[in-house]
Symmetry: C3
Subunit: 171 residues, 3 copies
């Protein structure tokens, strides 16, 4: 819990029993670049409002905190008609790389950081990062494989206990 | 905020501090036809129960309020094994159009309106529509490009402030 | 509501007005094997903490409670770059079956039950299963087609009423 030591005073400490403290818990279950951002952006906005914010990485969302993958998340247009591209193109060689590069450029143009830098910013603002025990076991990963600022690998039960009274988002 | 003037009395005004008022905030982040409906159906049901209801359109969900795309959302079976079709068919020319037409027919058979008419009905029932600032910027869209009943383009921080005490759904 | 009769005492009865009772409502809208699990795991963890837990199956999530499909859910890597496989492979014949078999093996290795057994366990722990009326109508299914422990087919309005004061997750 030592990450809270350097957080702005406006962010309540984890486990603090502030009677009117607002708490937001975001479950990040997706491992595609586009769906990594909604959780990061919501968390960042919540921290700016002084809200106690927890991110729980599980299933495919583990790629957001896995040291080997967090800087190299990809985006595919397959399954997403909002890209307005013929779905038949999505499986062609090079299309995932091209779509990823284009999305990264759009995000950078808005001065929104890449995933690792965004997580760093969230932690610096007092946000809490947690990894799912079952996902760690399934991927045979230990805490050493995960982004250093992940506070702990916890079970779904731990997460449920932690989120008493929280607003919750499943992404 | 003038949209509330014509809403049924049962719908609490936005910003009203009713101590026991229930509030529901739905984040619509998907731009496929099938995933447009859950948010609309939940919002409609909540409004019928007198619940203050907000829809926040972001990422691919922007297609639901973009004048150019809201009437022409598409569905693809790619990535969705619940369609019980071989995934290899999904990329063939014409498959997205065929799957979309079939889904639209199923929805119409239940007397559920198309997306633009459904949004109109939600607004007429007192629902609030908001567009995400970052998504607008990323797509280089302004309020003129969006469905007229969208109340404003707001930041994630504005949305977080607005949802204090709300139940939240991320779709 | 007779399912509650055999539940552990720690699980509050549905409709009980315990002033400080925590309630979790999970909307299961996906019909792929990987996205079936997050709801089941969260529900199971919540029940273990004595939380009143409701699962509402809607849209593609109907496959989780349809007797014909619940034991045979599939997984595709299409649209999911976190599988770290070239998207072009996803449409090849046999790939969905292979990806499904591999995922099932990973899940079984963690002693996590298959979907039907997991639902049975959730019901035995006092969890409540509900089916969406609109999805039943769209798929022309009646209660006889659904898993026996589904308590009822209810409308979105019924679900909204039922979730007053609940934490909500949309999966």
């Amino acid at each position: 819990m030592n990450a809270t030591d350097t957080t702005p005073a406006i962010v309540p400490k984890f486990d603090s029993e502030t009677p009117d403290g607002r708490k937001l818990a975001i479950i990040c279950s997706k491992g595609s670049l586009d769906m990594a951002y909604p959780g990061l952006i919501m968390a960042n906005a919540a921290l700016g409002e002084g809200i106690e914010t927890h991110l729980f990485f599980t299933f495919w969302g583990f790629d957001m905190i896995n040291k080997k993958t967090m800087g190299d998340m990809k985006f595919t247009m397959l399954g997403n008609p909002a890209t307005h591209m013929p779905q038949g193109l999505g499986g062609l060689p090079g299309m995932t790389a091209m779509a990823t590069a284009k999305l990264k450029k759009s995000i950078a143009a808005l001065d929104v950081p890449e995933v690792p830098e965004f997580l760093e910013q969230i932690v610096a603002s007092g946000g809490h990062l947690w990894a799912c025990r079952m996902s760690a076991d399934m991927n045979r990963l230990t805490k050493d494989d995960l982004y250093d600022e992940v506070e702990d690998i916890i079970s779904a039960s731990d997460f449920i206990e932690m989120t008493d009274g929280a607003q919750m988002l499943f992404i």
